[in-house]
Symmetry: C2
Subunit: 386 residues, 2 copies
C-alpha cells in the first residue's frame, strides 16, 4: 500500500445529450486521456471501466470492446458499478492495483449514455439504484428521497429554499466557464425558485440533469510518471465508505455516513485535515446534497454550510471553492463517468488547463462522489506536483 | 503481491429457476458462505459482488443492499461485471485486494436472476455481452457464434458431433451427483444428437441453460485462515487474459487467446505446469467450449481433446477430471455467479463436502471462466491445505 500513484493524463467528452454510441463516447474520452498523457496506447496494462446502464445502449461487457477498439485487444479490462458513485469506486480499485504494484500504467474510463431512453425511462432505470424493495418499488425515486432529506435538514438547521438555490446559482456560474459542461447557463436565485417543482422543496434547478458522457484518466506509478518527463498529479489519499442502503435505515439523514467514513480514511492516508484542501469537486446530484457533503467532508460545521455557501465561501474566489467544474448540477451527471470526471477536473486545474475557472494557488484538491443517496461513496485527495 | 490468500468458506444456492428475488438469492449464498467459514459477519471488511443483469430484477447498486441486509451497512461493497466471466474477474480483484494487504477478510458473492424474463428476452440481454456492433446487432448471438467456432474446429481437427455430445453426457453424469445442479438428468449420446438443433452443429443438449443462482466465498489472509482453526484452501495462482472482443477479430478461432494468457500467468504464479492439476472446473457454456478450453489450458495438445474426452480422460475417474460439479452444462450458468460457483466446487472438493462426485486424491485444482466468446477470462489455481 505504499507505492505512490499518479495521474499522468486526463480527458473528457462534452457532457450532455450525445449522438454517438456508448462505445464511441468512451473511446473519445480514452483517446483524449492517452494523448494528454503523451504515452503510447501499448504502455497501458489494464483497463478499468465504470458504467451503470450499458444495457440501455445494448452493450454490457464493455471493457473488451473498448480495449479492442483502442487496438489493445490483449489488455484485460473489467467494469465496476456502484450507481452514481461508479467512477470513484472504480478509481479506488484502479488506485489499489497500481498502489499494490500489480500494474504500472492503467486506463480508467467512466461512461454513461441514457438520454436517448427519455426522461421517464431514465427515471425508472435510476430508481433501480435505490434499495428497490424499500424505495424505488414504492415510488421513492431520487428526487423524492432527496426532498425528504432537504425537508429534514431545513427544519433541523433553519435553512430555506433560497439556501438550496444558491448552490445551483454558484455551480451554474462555474459551469459557464467549462466548455465541456452540459448546462452552460447563468441562472439567478429567482430562476431557481420559480422553476417547476419536481419534489417539494426541490425544483427543476435544484436537480442535476440526465447526461451522456465519458471521462478518462491514466493512472501510473510514480516512477512511470517521473520517467515520462510530463506534468502529473499525485494521489495522496483514498477512502471508501458505506451507509445503510435505504434512507429509512439511517439514524440521522442530515449526514451521509459513507462520506464521513471515506473522508476520514482519505484524510488519514494523506496525513492532512479538511482545512488543507484548496478546492473540492463534490457530489451535488441535488442542491441539498452539496450542502450536506461539504459539512460531512469537514469544510463547515454541521448545520453551518447553507449560510456559508450563500455568503460566497464556496464560490470560485471563496475560502474553499466547491465544484469549480460546475459540478453535477451544471457540468452534468453521466453517472458512470462522474467520479472520473471529477479527477479530470483536478488534473486540468493542476496542469494549467482549466482556463477562467482555475482556482488560484491551489495545491491540494479533493474529489467526493457517492452512489444513490450515499449508500456507497469514495473520496480521493490529490496533490499538485511542481 | 506476496501475501497468501485463502478461501475459508463457501456456499451456493441451488442453480435453476428460482422464485426468490435477486437480493434474497445473493443473501442465501452469502449466509451459507459465512456459516461455512465459521466467522462472525462483522469480521467481513468489504463485499465484492459480481452480476450482469440486475436491471432485469430492478436492482443495480446491489452491493450496499446486500451488505445492509447482512447487517453490515458500514461495510463498503461494489459490483464487477465481465459478462459470463464476471465471477472469476471479480474473484481476481478480491484476491488482489487481500494479496496486497488492503483487507484481511472479504465476502465475494456472484449472483444472477434472468429466467423470469423468458428465453427470448434472456437471449436478447445476453447478446449485449457480445461486441454488439459487429455481433449481437447483426444476429450473431452466442449459439451462432459458438456454432461457427465448432464448425471450424470440427473441420480443422476431424472432430464430429458425437465428440461434442460426449462432453454433455459426461457433465450430466457429474451433475446428477450434485444436489445444487440445475439439470440433474443423465443423458446419452443419442439424446444429445436427437435434441432440437439450436445453431448447427449445436443442439439443445450442447448448450448450457439460462439459470438463476448465487455463489459466495470468504477470502482471507493466511494468518486469518490459520487463526480460525478451520479447514481452508489456498489460492496459489491467478491470471487474467483478454481476446479481441469479436470472434471475427481473431486469427484462429480454434483457440481462445484470453484463456491461454490467463492460464500462463496463473501457472507461472503457482510455479506449476498443467500436468500438476488434479481436476478443473472450466467454462463449458457450449460443448465445443470445453473441448477448446482443456486444450488452451494445456491438458491436451491442440486438436487432441475431442478424442480424449470421448475416451473418458476427463470423466470423474479419468486422468484429468473436468467439471466434477457438472459444469455450466449441467450445474447451470447464472452468469454473474458462475466463476464463484467454480471456487465453491473446489472448496467443497478439498474440504470433504462433495459427496459422490469427489475427485480422489486431488490436491491441486484449477478454475477457468470466460466472458462472452472469451473476450475476457480468468484462471485461478488452488491448493488443498492438509
Amino acid at each position: 500500500m505504499t507505492n505512490k500513484v499518479c495521474i499522468l493524463g486526463a480527458g473528457s467528452t462534452k457532457y450532455g445529450k450525445l449522438e454517438e454510441g456508448i462505445i464511441e463516447i468512451a473511446l473519445n474520452a480514452s483517446a483524449s486521456a492517452i494523448e494528454s498523457a503523451g504515452i503510447s496506447p501499448n504502455q497501458i496494462q489494464a483497463g478499468y471501466i465504470s458504467n451503470v446502464f450499458g444495457v440501455a445502449d445494448k452493450q454490457v461487457h464493455m471493457a473488451p470492446v473498448i480495449m479492442s477498439n483502442l487496438g489493445l485487444s490483449h489488455v484485460p479490462g473489467l467494469t465496476i458499478e456502484s450507481a452514481c458513485g461508479s467512477g470513484s469506486i472504480m478509481f479506488r480499485e484502479a488506485f489499489a492495483n497500481v498502489s499494490a504494484g500489480f500494474y504500472d500504467c492503467l486506463l480508467a474510463v467512466g461512461v454513461e449514455k441514457v438520454t436517448h431512453t427519455g426522461t421517464a425511462q431514465s427515471t425508472t432505470l435510476f430508481s433501480y439504484c435505490s434499495d428497490f424493495f424499500y424505495e424505488g418499488g414504492n415510488g421513492a425515486s431520487f428526487p423524492g428521497l432527496f426532498a425528504s432529506i432537504a425537508r429534514y435538514y431545513m427544519s433541523k438547521f433553519q435553512a430555506d429554499e433560497t439556501d438550496l438555490a444558491s448552490v445551483a446559482v454558484k455551480n451554474h456560474e462555474n459551469g459557464v466557464l467549462n466548455p465541456k459542461a452540459h448546462m452552460r447557463k447563468k441562472i439567478t436565485i429567482e430562476d431557481v425558485l420559480k422553476s417547476p417543482v419536481v419534489a417539494s422543496p426541490l425544483k427543476l434547478y435544484d436537480c442535476c440533469p440526465f447526461s451522456d458522457g465519458a471521462s478518462a484518466v491514466i493512472l501510473c506509478s510514480e516512477e512511470f510518471a517521473k520517467n515520462s518527463g510530463r506534468p502529473y498529479v499525485e494521489v495522496i489519499g483514498s477512502g471508501r465508505g458505506a451507509s445503510p442502503a435505504s434512507v429509512q435505515g439511517r439514524e440521522d439523514i442530515a449526514t451521509i455516513p459513507s462520506t464521513v467514513m471515506a473522508a476520514k480514511q482519505a484524510y488519514k492516508m494523506a496525513g492532512i485535515s479538511p482545512s488543507d484542501i484548496d478546492f473540492a469537486e463534490v457530489h451535488d446530484c441535488f442542491t441539498i446534497a452539496e450542502i450536506i457533503d461539504v459539512e460531512d467532508l469537514g469544510f463547515f460545521p454541521k448545520g453551518k454550510a447553507a449560510k456559508a455557501i450563500r455568503d460566497g465561501a464556496t464560490s470560485l474566489s471563496g475560502e474553499i471553492p466547491i465544484n469549480p467544474s460546475g459540478g453535477l448540477k451544471s457540468k452534468g451527471h453521466p453517472i458512470g463517468a462522474t467520479g472520473i470526471g471529477q479527477v479530470v477536473e483536478v488534473f486540468d486545474q493542476f496542469t494549467g488547463k482549466s482556463g477562467q475557472r482555475t482556482v488560484k494557488d491551489a495545491k491540494i484538491a479533493l474529489t467526493h462522489n457517492f452512489g444513490a443517496t450515499g449508500a456507497s461513496a469514495a473520496v480521493h485527495i490529490f496533490k499538485k506536483v511542481e
